[in-house]
Structure formats: structure tokens, C-alpha cells
């Protein structure tokens, strides 16, 4: 069974490559019991959209207010 270290590693790698079916299933299983890792998963995509917004510039961010 995955521990949190390995689960977060897989979730990070999922940002670069497609995970195998096996990997996805073990992750799913782990996350059904681990709220910390579930939150980590959401944060991976949030970090990505933050990075994109950051590159688009703070001026634009402020402008949207």
C-alpha cells in the first residue's frame, strides 16, 4: 500500500506523465483514506493555475478586481 510520500510523488509525476492504471488505482485507494493527500491533489492543479496566472502578470490580476 502507498504511503503519503509515495502518493504525493505519484501526484507530482502525474503533472508530467500519464500514470498507469495500477498507479491510479493505488492512488485512489490511498486517497479514500487520506484527507491530506486528497487536499494535496487539489493543490497540484491549483499550483499550476497559480503559475500560469503569475506569468500572465500581476497587472492583469489587479485589473480583474
Amino acid at each position: 500500500m502507498l504511503n503519503c510520500h509515495d502518493a504525493t510523488r505519484l501526484m507530482s509525476e502525474a503533472q508530467e506523465r500519464q500514470l498507469s492504471l495500477m498507479e491510479r488505482m493505488s492512488l485512489k485507494f490511498h486517497m479514500s483514506m487520506c484527507s491530506g493527500c486528497k487536499n494535496f491533489k487539489d493543490q497540484m492543479s491549483t499550483l499550476r493555475s497559480m503559475s500560469r496566472s503569475y506569468m500572465k502578470g500581476k497587472d492583469e490580476q489587479a485589473g480583474k478586481k
Binding site: C37, G57, E60, K65
Partner: protein, 211 residues
């Protein structure tokens, strides 16, 4: 400042933006900081920014509005940086990038010996990230967290998420193995999310009330 920013002539041209010194200086500073973090060399960073700005001046007329112009200037800068990084590959001592040296120990701060989250390190729910991103103060925290990453981690994270290079390109440019890259990115994300969480989301309520 805003009055100049919003002035576009009837054709939607905004070459006046490029004579807006405040805008230019502001964007130049951001570019230099970004390029310096990527290249870890101020002179190379200044050169890349200079070239990107010259390139931008040539075609600026076709951009309507400062956000579009800025996105485009940074796109040029990204390409310049990618070029410089490719050249560096031949000249720089890459072995420094491959060693994991001081970057091993930090994970024991996060996980117990069995590899599970320590109780006070467990990620929490980030309430409404979109609202955070609209706050100027959030970006100060985000930037500070980036600057606190170990240099190698910061570099690969930015190559991946800011310059949007794919894993193969990063590995080729830095002569990293794929698994090495995965390790660096994993660590950078663990650290970055922890820093953002501690300094923004756990600072919590006061921001929530603002939005």
C-alpha cells in the same frame, strides 16, 4: 499611469505603452527577476531581458492592451531563456545539478518514518484559490515562497510551470535523468505548497474576510 495604459488609438494600437516609462520599468524589473532566477546569472539575465525587449518593441503595435503585451513580452523572454539554458548546457558544470546534496533531509520534516504525513504537516483545504489570486498580497507571498526554494528546485519548477517546457526538454537541457527531474519537481511542489499554505492559507481568516 492607468490613463496612459488605457489609451489606444482607433486602430487598437498601443505603441504609446512602450513610451510609458513606468510601465516599461516595472515590467523590466519583473523580467530581470524572473530571468535571474532561471539563469542564476545577473548579466545573462540582463542580456536576455534586453534582447526580449528589443524584439518586443518591433512588434508592439499589434498588441492591444498591456496585459496582452506583457504576456507576449514574457513569451519572448521565455524563448530567450530557453536558448541561453541550451547554450549553458555545454559550458556549465552540470554535475552540480545532479547531486541531491542538501535536499534530502527536508522530507523527514514532512513525513514520519513510515512515510505518512506528520499530523501538523498534513495539507489542508485551500479555500477559494481564485479569490486569493485576485489579491496583490497573495502574489507577494507566492513570490517569496518561490525565492525560498533551493535553487535547483526553483529552476526546474519554473522551467516546467512558468516556461512550460515538457519533461523531456528539461531533462535534455539540464542533462538530468527523468527520475532525477521527478524527484526535484516533487520536492519543489511539496515545499512550495507548504510555504503557500503556511503563509497564506493558515494566516487565513483575515484574508478571507477581505474577499
Amino acid at each position: 499611469m492607468t490613463s496612459t495604459a488605457n489609451q489606444t488609438d482607433s486602430d487598437g494600437h498601443n505603441s504609446d505603452l512602450l513610451s510609458d516609462e513606468v510601465f516599461l520599468e516595472d515590467i523590466r524589473k519583473q523580467m530581470v527577476r524572473f530571468a535571474t532566477m532561471q539563469l542564476s546569472d545577473v548579466n545573462q539575465a540582463e542580456d536576455a531581458v534586453q534582447e526580449a525587449l528589443i524584439g518586443a518593441l518591433k512588434n508592439a503595435k499589434s498588441f492591444n492592451g498591456r496585459a496582452a503585451l506583457k504576456t507576449w513580452i514574457f513569451a519572448i523572454l521565455k524563448n530567450k531563456i530557453a536558448d541561453v539554458l541550451r547554450q549553458k548546457q555545454r559550458t556549465v558544470n552540470i554535475s552540480s545539478l545532479q547531486s541531491n546534496d542538501n535536499e534530502d533531509e527536508d522530507l523527514s520534516e514532512l513525513f514520519d518514518r513510515k512515510g505518512f504525513w506528520k499530523v501538523d504537516e498534513r495539507p489542508i483545504i485551500w479555500g477559494n484559490p481564485e479569490a486569493s489570486m485576485r489579491e496583490g498580497q497573495f502574489w507577494t507571498v507566492f513570490e517569496a515562497c518561490l525565492e525560498h526554494l533551493p535553487p535547483k528546485q526553483a529552476r526546474v519548477f519554473m522551467m516546467r510551470e512558468f516556461i512550460e517546457l515538457d519533461a523531456n526538454e528539461i531533462c535534455a537541457t539540464l542533462e538530468l535523468s527523468t527520475s532525477n527531474l521527478h524527484v526535484l519537481l516533487h520536492r519543489s511542489r511539496l515545499r512550495l505548497r507548504e510555504c503557500v499554505e503556511n503563509n497564506w492559507y493558515l494566516e487565513g481568516e483575515k484574508h478571507a474576510e477581505l474577499s
